[in-house]
């Protein structure tokens, strides 16, 4: 069993990743079930002393999902004292999640940087648990289990940020397959926003962003009119991400 080597890590600093996926018309998050416990946790990690924090977040993402070079954004820094719960490290030792030698390291004041990622469900290999967890799985946002420490709060904040970002940025690349239909894209938006949108207006608005390419193919096999398959125009997509949609002033 390989426990972590705390010597090479920045003390008191952790990373928590809220990894969103979209599948079967539901928004899901990747969660880890802690070893010997009913509690779940966000995938996370620590920061090696010679690495950028942003890069370490990308490592966490890749370790759990196998994907890299995709949307991953720092969204909040969690620095409250109340995050540090008395007796928590002791519990971790008891459950064999960390080694006794490391307990002292975990007793220190910890702060955490929150990241959220959008990943295409289908591109992800079987989610990988680590040595602290017995399971790593996609869980629907509507059906969340009890989470460790303040991870519930972190998740909520990430979701809230994502909803706000919808107004300024395109989403969908990385969250949808390479090609997708307009109704699928709409379902994604509706799921993130938690409300229904008008089909016709959605289409018009989305097309006006000018980030979609009509592939001239259709998705067949359904017992109704075959919908057109679109893909993102990556150049325009990334430009839109940079510049944002907002034009208020």
């Amino acid at each position: 069993m390989t426990f972590i080597n705390t010597d090479e890590l920045v003390p008191g600093l952790s990373i928590d990743c809220v990894i969103f996926g979209f599948h079967e018309y539901e928004l899901k998050v990747l969660l880890m079930k802690m070893k010997n416990s009913d509690l779940w946790a966000l995938p996370g990690g620590f920061v090696r002393k010679d690495r950028n924090v942003d890069d370490e977040a990308a490592v966490v993402l890749e370790l759990r999902t196998g994907v890299r070079d995709i949307f991953l954004r720092q969204f909040h820094f969690f620095g409250n004292v109340s995050r540090n719960v008395d007796g928590h490290p002791e519990q971790l030792v008891k459950k064999e999640i960390i080694s006794p030698e490391n307990q002292a390291w975990f007793e220190e004041r910890f702060v955490s940087v929150g990241y959220y990622a959008l990943v295409e469900h289908s591109k992800v290999q079987e989610p990988q648990p680590d040595h602290t967890s017995e399971l790593c799985a996609w869980v629907s946002l509507n059906d969340l289990p009890e989470l460790m420490l303040d991870h519930g709060l972190i998740l909520k904040k990430a979701h809230h940020t994502l909803r706000l970002e919808l107004n300024n940025q395109p989403i969908g690349l990385n969250l949808l397959p390479e090609t997708f239909t307009m109704p699928e894209l709409q379902a994604l938006y509706e799921t993130v926003l938690g409300k229904e949108l008008d089909r016709r207006n959605f289409r018009r608005k989305m097309l006006s962003y000018d980030i979609l390419i009509d592939t001239n193919e259709k998705r067949t096999g359904t017992s109704h009119k075959a919908p057109t398959l679109y893909k993102f125009d990556r150049d325009k997509y990334f430009t839109a991400m940079q510049d944002g949609f907002s034009t208020a002033w």
Copy 2:
């Protein structure tokens, strides 16, 4: 001379505050001129082990400006390795900014949480330097001196964030005097955005937000028509901050 007691501080974690003020139709930032150096720095500090990071940022703000309970927002976490410049702590000791006993503590990997604040220039007492600085002063954004380490980058990022926030949130409270005229408010927006706006359309849009109260008084003393004085409707202002202006979806 009182140097810091590093024992009670969270190691490797600092706070940097970008404190914006608005004066004489210019956006300004509060900067500290380092002792025995031509370099300037953002006001900042460290985090006591038993304090929330957000609260410590408020302490930094109050120490420098004397104001409290005003807009102060965490905007980014800076965690790149490149922030930690070889030989920097040594320089700090040489310039008597930190004590030799503390040099080792400063040699550790440091990460930083960036905050920005909006403060009303006139409410601020004479900006207070600390034991690391010989001067604390308002500096125009158009006329920035050379800044220490990555502080220039942090400042730039804060300004960028502020510009984006304009679209979602009201600003002005804390940045303008208690009462102000519509042209003054417009000047603030123009300064932050770095572009001119149409007087008539600005007024209409601003009034449509429904966060202003007409005080029925005028600012006299100018050799032209006396402009109406407004103040913010605080309840509605804070509601607008919560909910945001954006209606995109």
